[in-house]
């Protein structure tokens, strides 16, 4: 996983609330069981008009936001399906960070697993930085835009995973003895769980 440490980029404004995974990557754009080949379908319903012609009104089709690494979104960003393809599509397109007043929980967890930083800021802050250059420092948990600096929250564990680009499975396997001890005790307590 690519570590996330610092990033300076323009935040493409996509401020509607409840941007769902069907909008981020529609089911029909998930063409294989793999995790790649998805960037072309990113935001397909909004990005293209009939015949897959780029819609000039869509933010990522505007020259100043093309290839955006940061998106400023609305509340409950990433709601809907659990499909990790939404995050894979964003990451493959080049997005490293989404800033929003709130995220759907599965989407936020998927972001962390793929080196993409979900930044939660109050709505007024998101609206004020949308379309502007931001500087994000994960270690300091700050986002700076012109003279304004905002602190953002992140779970301690998620922060470490992102900063160090850790593989969660490898990390967890280091705790194998503790997990095995727990499982042995549980097997006696709840035998019906162990089929």
């Amino acid at each position: 996983m690519t570590p996330f440490i610092k990033l300076t980029a323009v935040a493409a404004p996509l401020l509607a609330d409840n941007i769902d995974t069907d909008a981020i990557i529609p089911s029909r754009e998930m063409k294989s069981t793999g995790r790649t080949g998805l960037a072309d379908g990113l935001f397909a319903p909004w990005r293209y008009v009939e015949g897959r012609v780029p819609n000039p009104e869509f933010v990522l089709n505007q020259p100043e936001y093309a290839g955006a690494q940061v998106i400023a979104g609305g509340a409950n960003f990433g709601c809907g399906s659990s499909r990790e393809h939404a995050v894979w599509a964003l990451a493959e397109y080049g997005v490293r960070c989404v800033i929003a007043p709130g995220f759907a929980p599965i989407f936020a967890a998927n972001c962390i697993r793929n080196g993409l930083l979900p930044v939660v800021l109050p709505r007024e802050a998101v609206e004020s930085i949308a379309g502007r250059e931001v500087h994000i420092d994960l270690a300091a948990q700050t986002l700076t835009c012109s003279d304004d600096t905002y602190a953002f929250p992140i779970e301690a564990e998620a922060k470490v995973m992102l900063l160090e680009g850790l593989d969660a499975i490898d990390l967890t396997l280091k705790s194998r003895p503790a997990i095995a001890a727990w499982t042995d005790a549980d097997r006696a307590a709840r035998p019906w769980i162990y089929l």
């Binding site: 409840n18 301690a156 769980i193």
Partner: protein, 458 residues
């Protein structure tokens, strides 16, 4: 110290806590489907990591499998067959239990897991599917995850997680005639928003929840993901244990004190509490493109985001009842269980779908639901009324490049999402109970089921 049910299950599953404060939470059951599960199985195989305990991992074909009679691996979705064949191969290689396309127990993940007793009170169950929260209706901590997390759970037996917050939603009082668990969920979303439960495990309680049968509780919990909740849960009671008794993967007995202690303690505190008057809930319908755009069926469309009005083609101030529809769908993990089909069939009997309806479809949630419905003759009731009767699967709940309709077509659906393009490009979806779908199919326009004449029993 008093604890909530969610806290009790969480505490009982913490194997160890990391230095950064995350819990490594034991996962009792993993459920996969062909749409997102194949990717997790492929990744774990590519990394040469074995599945820790394959007997506790299950997979099923539900999302893009064809639902037309006589189906096989062919699917209407372009390139869809690869999801089915690759999931089958990967499941066999991993040694996990697979309910394949032609298996008599095949069906929608969240319908068959309770049916087979795979989900149990007090257990943790995850699946790369957002509606896994449905299964919290059995008193389990069940939640949706991504494919990477599914791989993690299979490879390690645990997930790394911060402890979630808890919320209590109490529905007090008795539901009115023609009002269902679906309407409870939509009323909650309408009042508290699609982000209202973000990051919380929501426990549903109160007299109206206790009065629901197990299948209705699943409908209520199903839509917790539309509320941005991590999971939903309902304390198991005598109905829960009676429902599970004798099911294939369930224990022989639920008599031990263990099962009775699976409830929030008296005085347990939640991070948030909401109380809703169940008696004040009417049959609900969505007018827009988020499940929070839910209103009573006799109400006017309120002013919402302009984009939603433009997409759905309804201006603020329009009376929603009477809006003509093109498609009617009864199915999905929300409302395709036997009780849903029984109630819908009772309403449709003696009526016929309006001639203006282009397609009316009933898709049972599982093979078992289909067989039970056919044994009662429900298939014949639906067919006589002009509905198609299908094999089980997710079907028209969403559009995977398969069956669809011209842009602008209006669909009334017993499903859970009314997003832009959810059922196909430009399709306008209204979500509601099966009762509202039936009444609307008969009228050819959005209609209140309370106004429908019901055939008296002979």
């Amino acid at each position: 110290m008093s604890r909530t049910l969610a806290d009790k299950i969480w505490d009982a599953h913490v194997t160890t806590t990391t230095s950064a404060g995350a819990d490594l939470v034991a996962i009792d059951r993993v459920f996969l489907h062909e749409r997102t599960g194949a990717s997790a199985l492929k990744s774990i195989a590519a990394a040469r990591r074995p599945v820790v305990d394959p007997h506790r991992v299950f997979a099923v074909m539900d999302h893009i499998v064809d639902t037309r009679p006589g189906r096989g691996d062919q699917t209407l979705m372009q390139g869809g067959q690869a999801f089915i064949t690759e999931t089958r191969a990967a499941a066999l290689a991993a040694g996990i239990t697979l309910f394949d396309v032609t298996d008599p127990d095949q069906g929608i993940t969240h319908v068959i897991s309770p049916e087979l007793g795979i989900v149990l009170p007090g257990c943790t169950l995850v699946a790369p599917d957002s509606h896994t929260c449905t299964q919290g209706a059995l008193g389990a901590l069940a939640w949706g995850i991504g494919s990477s997390e599914a791989e993690h759970a299979m490879a390690t037996g645990v997930l790394r997680l911060p402890r979630p917050k808890t919320m209590l939603v109490r529905f007090e009082g008795a539901l009115g005639v023609g009002v269902t668990a679906k309407d409870m969920a939509l009323a909650l979303l309408g009042a508290h928003g699609a982000g209202g439960g973000a990051g919380h495990v929501v426990e549903f309680a109160g007299s109206a929840v206790e009065a629901l049968d197990i299948e209705a509780r699943m409908t209520l919990c199903n839509m917790a993901t539309e509320f941005a909740a991590m999971a939903a849960i309902i304390a198991p009671d005598a109905k829960t244990f009676a429902y599970l008794a004798g099911r294939r993967y369930a224990p022989a007995s639920f008599d031990a004190p263990y099962w009775q202690e699976l409830r929030s303690d008296e005085g347990a505190t939640f991070d948030r509490e909401i109380v809703i008057d169940a008696a004040a809930i009417a049959p609900m319908i969505t007018w827009g493109t988020s499940p929070e755009h839910a209103i009573p069926i006799d109400a006017m469309v309120p002013q919402g985001p302009q984009r939603a009005h433009d997409y759905i083609g309804l201006a603020a101030g329009t009376r929603i009842a009477g809006t003509p529809i093109d498609v009617a769908f009864i199915g999905s993990c929300t409302n395709a269980r036997l009780s849903d089909l029984r109630r819908a069939a009772a309403l449709v009997k003696g009526h016929h779908v309006a001639p203006s309806i282009k397609k009316a479809l009933v898709v049972p949630g599982s093979g078992a639901v289909k067989r039970a419905a056919e044994a009662e003759g429900l298939d014949k009731v639906f067919e006589a009324a002009g509905f198609e009767w299908r094999e089980s699967g997710c079907s028209l709940c969403f559009f995977a490049g398969g069956e669809s309709f011209p842009a602008g077509s209006r669909s009334i659906s017993s499903t859970n999402r009314n997003f832009e393009g959810r059922q196909g490009p430009g399709i306008r979806t209204h979500i509601a109970s099966p009762e509202v779908v039936v009444a609307s199919a008969i009228a050819g326009a959005i209609a209140d089921p309370r106004l429908l004449s019901v055939e008296e029993p002979a």
